[in-house]
């Protein structure tokens, strides 16, 4: 019953952390131990002996790998959260999210993914926050409706138009589920970190997208695949352009951070859309870097973003700017090389468009690095670890790709 434990242990941890909220140390200990046990179980699922399931569940390698990366990212942000952050809230929401994402990964088809996304999104939107529940529920709610439409069209008949419309609905569902352009959720800069749409896009989104892709691709057929690929590439370029320009020129540093996530997601969507191994690998790596580098750095930038600390531009910030810009040897560099190679293989003018987007990317990196101020204490350790993960993703991408079975 490996998959059941991988799903149940984080869920139990989330419940326990929420119940013990008034005793933070105990809540962190119990939730942390159960989360760690769940992550270990996910890792053990790489071995066939651990894959036997009472309920017939199975977690494919790619989403399972990204789930492990999500668990690592959660451990990082909870253990090294800024002093004023609600660590118990982060842990409870994160563990519930991990359980939900494991359920998405184990979902047998697109309809099951829709059910889990509805529940996961409602749980996230119900977290205490500044924006009302319906506003936070709009993008994922639309994703659920689009998943339903896509699944219905898959069974609608043999005409090619149904396969094409199904691919259209499912790609739009993926983009809406991750909270990307053109389904960008409303953002309140003072929203608590765990309830923010940035947390949804930066923490829940990557594993959700990879799990959804694993369920969508087998049902596409010959008629749906070109629509699927072209739409993903088109939406990827749109998000890349929107994200880089928004992060550069957008008003407010919180918005700039949010747009920078879109830029990363743009690369991931293009990678998923080009349907060649290098593209898939690039998408996987960029989503792993969102989890391990950009999302934790965003959380450590929040004291400056909320006006509790001063921005700064010291030597460490220059290094962070290089990492956020995708310079060698950091994560973005290997992603860019793989993606440009994949784009050249499929349709070389696409590589030119991507190259242009990557050049514009440089403009916002220093702006974001400044918002990390002068990290001290836990935040400094966290920044060093995030940079370490970025270097690891950049120089040894095969480690992460093997984890995802790529």
């Amino acid at each position: 019953m490996g998959p059941e434990l991988a799903l149940g242990l984080p869920a139990a941890g989330a419940v326990l952390a929420a119940v013990l909220r008034r005793r933070p140390a105990l809540a962190l200990l119990c939730g942390g131990l159960l989360g760690l046990a769940g992550a270990l179980m996910m890792a053990l699922l790489a071995y066939p002996a651990a894959q036997a399931s009472l309920l017939g569940l199975s977690l494919p390698a790619a989403p399972r790998g990204l789930l492990l990366v999500s668990a690592l990212a959660l451990g990082l942000v909870v253990a090294l959260a800024p002093p004023q952050a609600d660590r118990v809230g982060l842990l409870a929401a994160g563990l519930a999210g991990l359980a939900g994402l494991a359920a998405v990964a184990a979902a047998p088809d697109v309809l099951a993914v829709g059910v889990v996304v509805a529940l996961l999104a409602a749980g996230h939107a119900a977290l205490p926050g500044r924006l009302p529940f319906p506003t936070r529920m709009r993008a994922p709610g639309l994703a659920v409706a689009l998943l339903l439409a896509g699944a219905l069209l898959q069974h609608a008949g043999d005409a090619p138009v149904f396969a094409r419309l199904s691919a259209l609905a499912l790609v739009l569902a993926l983009v809406a589920a991750a909270g990307l352009v053109p389904f960008l959720p409303e953002l309140d800069p003072a929203e608590p970190a765990s309830a923010s749409p940035v947390a949804w896009t930066g923490f829940f989104g990557p594993a959700l997208a990879v799990a959804l892709v694993a369920r969508i691709q087998p049902g596409l057929g010959n008629d749906g695949a070109p629509v699927y690929g072209a739409l993903l590439v088109g939406l990827g370029v749109l998000n890349l352009a929107w994200g880089t320009l928004g992060a550069w020129l957008g008003e407010g540093d919180v918005a700039a951070w949010r747009y920078s996530f879109l830029a990363d997601w743009g690369l991931a969507l293009v990678g998923l859309g080009v349907l060649v191994p290098d593209g898939q690998a690039a998408a996987y790596l960029v989503l792993a870097s969102v989890l391990l580098v950009r999302f934790p750095l965003y959380l450590w930038a929040r004291p400056v973003l909320l006006g509790r600390a001063q921005p700064a531009m010291g030597p460490s910030n220059v290094l962070l700017a290089a990492a956020l810009a995708g310079a060698a040897p950091f994560a973005g560099f290997s992603v860019r090389v793989l993606l440009l190679r994949a784009a050249t293989e499929v349709y070389w003018p696409l590589a030119l468009v991507l190259g242009l987007g990557m050049l514009v990317w440089l403009a916002h990196s220093f702006r974001l690095a400044r918002t990390l101020g002068a990290p001290r204490g836990r935040a400094a350790v966290g920044v060093v670890l995030a940079l370490g993960f970025s270097v690891l993703l950049g120089v040894a991408p095969a480690t992460f790709l093997t984890l995802g079975g790529l």
């Binding site: 059910v115 709610g141 219905l152």
Partner: protein, 183 residues
């Protein structure tokens, strides 16, 4: 289509219409309940799915009755656009479900699934009321479960059970917004 199937579709549409047209707990709960009854009736040839989704929908509707403004709140002033939405959704769902789509399942179920998806999504995208958003998500979840049941894949029973459970859990979520603590 039999008289029963037509009646079930009309009941489900009425449920969707109450959901779209109501701004308070009784109207919203009645909408979910009617939709669940209509959906279960169209699924009569798959009794386990009909029972699971019908009961889950009724349970979720009963749970919706416990909080939110204690009125019907149906057809408040300015609801003409919503009324039009209900009519147009009904006509389009009936046309697409009966004439355009050849599957999954019989036409009445397809129509009811389309009604749940379209009216649930329309309400969710247009409301600022938490109880209505939760009820809309419940209706879409029930539609997902019904689609899995009629698609008849190997995993259909699991998806139907998950959809029924999700509908009840969505009913358990309170209608009151909670204020943020910390950052």
């Amino acid at each position: 289509m039999t008289v029963l199937a037509i009646a079930a579709v009309v009941i489900a549409w009425l449920g969707g219409a109450f959901l779209v047209l109501s701004d308070a707990r009784r109207g919203v709960a009645l909408g979910v309940a009617l939709y669940a009854i209509g959906l279960a009736a169209t699924l009569y040839n798959i009794p386990p799915a009909a029972l699971a989704l019908g009961l889950a929908g009724l349970g979720a509707a009963a749970l919706r009755l416990r909080d939110g403004p204690p009125r019907w709140g149906t057809l408040p002033p300015g609801s003409t656009p919503r009324l039009l939405l209900c009519v147009v959704s009904g006509v389009l769902a009936a046309f697409a479900g009966a004439s355009i789509l050849a599957g999954p399942g019989p036409a009445p179920v397809r129509i009811v699934i389309l009604l749940g998806g379209a009216m649930g999504a329309a309400r969710l995208l247009s409301t600022l009321r938490r109880e209505a958003a939760l009820a809309s998500t419940t209706v879409m979840t029930l539609a997902l479960g019904a689609a899995a049941a009629v698609a008849g894949d190997r995993a259909a029973p699991t998806v139907v059970a998950a959809a029924a459970l999700a509908a009840v859990l969505l009913g358990v979520l309170p209608a009151a917004e909670t204020k943020a603590r910390g950052a």
